[in-house]
Symmetry: C2
Subunit: 270 residues, 2 copies
Amino acid sequence: MAAQRGQRNGVGDTPPAPTAAEITAPIPRVVAEVPAARERARAIPEAAVARLAVYLRVLSGMQDQGSGTVSSEELAVAAGVNSAKLRKDLSYIGSYGTRGVGYEVAVLIEEIERILGLTRKQSVAVVGIGNLGHALANYGGFPGRGFPVTALFDVDPDLIGVPVGGLPVEHIDDIPTICAEREVSIGVIATPPPAAQTVCDRLVEAGVQCILNFAPVVLQVPDHVEVRKVDLAVELQVLSFHVARRADNAAATNGVAPEFNGKVNGMVVT
Amino acid sequence: MAAQRGQRNGVGDTPPAPTAAEITAPIPRVVAEVPAARERARAIPEAAVARLAVYLRVLSGMQDQGSGTVSSEELAVAAGVNSAKLRKDLSYIGSYGTRGVGYEVAVLIEEIERILGLTRKQSVAVVGIGNLGHALANYGGFPGRGFPVTALFDVDPDLIGVPVGGLPVEHIDDIPTICAEREVSIGVIATPPPAAQTVCDRLVEAGVQCILNFAPVVLQVPDHVEVRKVDLAVELQVLSFHVARRADNAAATNGVAPEFNGKVNGMVVT
DNA sequence: TACCGCTTGTGAACGCATGCACAAAGTCGC
DNA sequence: GCGACTTTGTGCATGCGTTCACAAGCGGTA
Ligand SMILES: NC(=O)c1ccc[n+]([C@@H]2O[C@H](COP(=O)([O-])OP(=O)(O)OC[C@H]3O[C@@H](n4cnc5c(N)ncnc54)[C@H](O)[C@@H]3O)[C@@H](O)[C@H]2O)c1
Ligand SMILES: NC(=O)c1ccc[n+]([C@@H]2O[C@H](COP(=O)([O-])OP(=O)(O)OC[C@H]3O[C@@H](n4cnc5c(N)ncnc54)[C@H](O)[C@@H]3O)[C@@H](O)[C@H]2O)c1
């Protein structure tokens, strides 16, 4: 029980268990984690990693558009972040900029891909080929970004063997063999909530070390497995909170209706 | 330009613009934000809000299962967080526990729902009824949680009028009238990336103040609009990063293969 | 009623992340 | 070749979020 932890990536969610950002810190763990590992894999804050992925996409767009170099300011605006933050994020992976000029787009793409481990293709398996699973299996954006979907699993006998997005659905009992055979490194769970934990356990048993979970449940996994969750209900509820707070504030500030209480369309009146 | 900002919720992403957590802090803003608003809507960290949504779901499950009360420890384990963190999160919304006993499940549910603004139903519109849009429209989990999907939009003439999940698809030109009429408070964008910004602008014009964006683009919105994004490519890439880092560490630590290097299945060996 | 054990709620400390501001470093023009 | 200008990379301060640890408070019990 003590070895288990909640999955990360909510908002600002820093897990109690070791993170990339903590590998240099003293860890109250007993096995593995030798100090010698410090030099390699510099500690990159998890938040920065997520942003690097965003920069990468923006950079790809720029490259397609023919840009040769970008300044931190341009890239920051395009990625929707502060330019200082962007430079700091990039500094985690090294110094690839030229002062007075900016960054070479191609170089930056290559370096970010290297850090994110995208040089090696990460094979993805989707479990639960229902509404969401179909959408994921049909989505062309993954293979294009280095994440080929190489296996689909379900329990529904009517689905087994049916090709979805060009790939036949397999039975979940075949997870061990197929995942090993196709070197699946990321498992995506899109089953109903009650089945999620079982499916997760099977994937882990099969050696899958990373899980992306769409089911609204807290998965229990061993320490060496990385879980991220996408929880739409939570997203909507956070938005709902902001609506409520805004309404409260507006009501407290003055008697004006919640919408359009004097603020010009996003521009701060100075 | 200065009034625009990147959307939040990456990992540990704290926005540059005012957040719930900042309303008590001195803000270098010029309009609105009157000090009088301080008493109401206590400053709840955004990260805590996201977790409250998780607690709510766990609590609902407990209630269905007949539990009358829970201790912070039980709830924390079920939600996958530290019990101290859980208590602090709950303390943001008030003191509804009984020392020596725990929390009454029903009371906690009610209070969290109140804070998250779930007492008022939040009407949702989905734009872009493709693979993902279909899945969202058919998903039964939203209405059940206080988020009725009341409108679907697309541009594809073949889709207009076709019922999806029991609701006919409307043309995006009707966004203004329909959103107003059905009091849509949350817009979900599931269009191809190039269309996302335009769709977003239309929603904002129609008075929608909250947006959940699935398209892998950085949306530019005025200050009073709240955007959250769900970016699967980023999720996968963060997972990929962890695979890479782990492989690096293992290689540096000893010559052992990345998988199963001595650790017992999640249990820390003491 | 008084005591005891249990759990909450929170003050305080710590650590991570953000943003600022500037020195270092390179380019471009002359 | 030199100076001025531009942009990077980063030390530092600040603020937010997490965690610890414990006093306060409540129910049960004698
Ligand atoms: N559809 C959405 O838009 C949406 C949105 C948010 C969250 N989710 C979550 O995603 C998950 C999937 O949603 P959905 O709408 O696709 O559901 P769905 O019912 O359409 O599909 C679920 C699929 O999982 C399969 N399945 C059931 N048990 C299984 C098992 N033990 N092993 C393997 N496969 C199994 C079913 O056969 C079915 O094909 C759910 O947990 C849901 O809460 C979905
Ligand atoms: N399908 C997935 O699993 C998945 C995963 C991650 C991200 N996404 C993202 O979600 C978005 C939708 O993906 P999808 O697979 O459903 O795509 P899709 O092509 O299946 O569907 C897109 C839909 O949007 C409609 N559309 C196009 N332009 C529009 C406009 N201007 N206004 C309104 N509607 C418009 C199209 O008619 C189509 O019905 C994309 O941005 C994609 O990158 C999808």
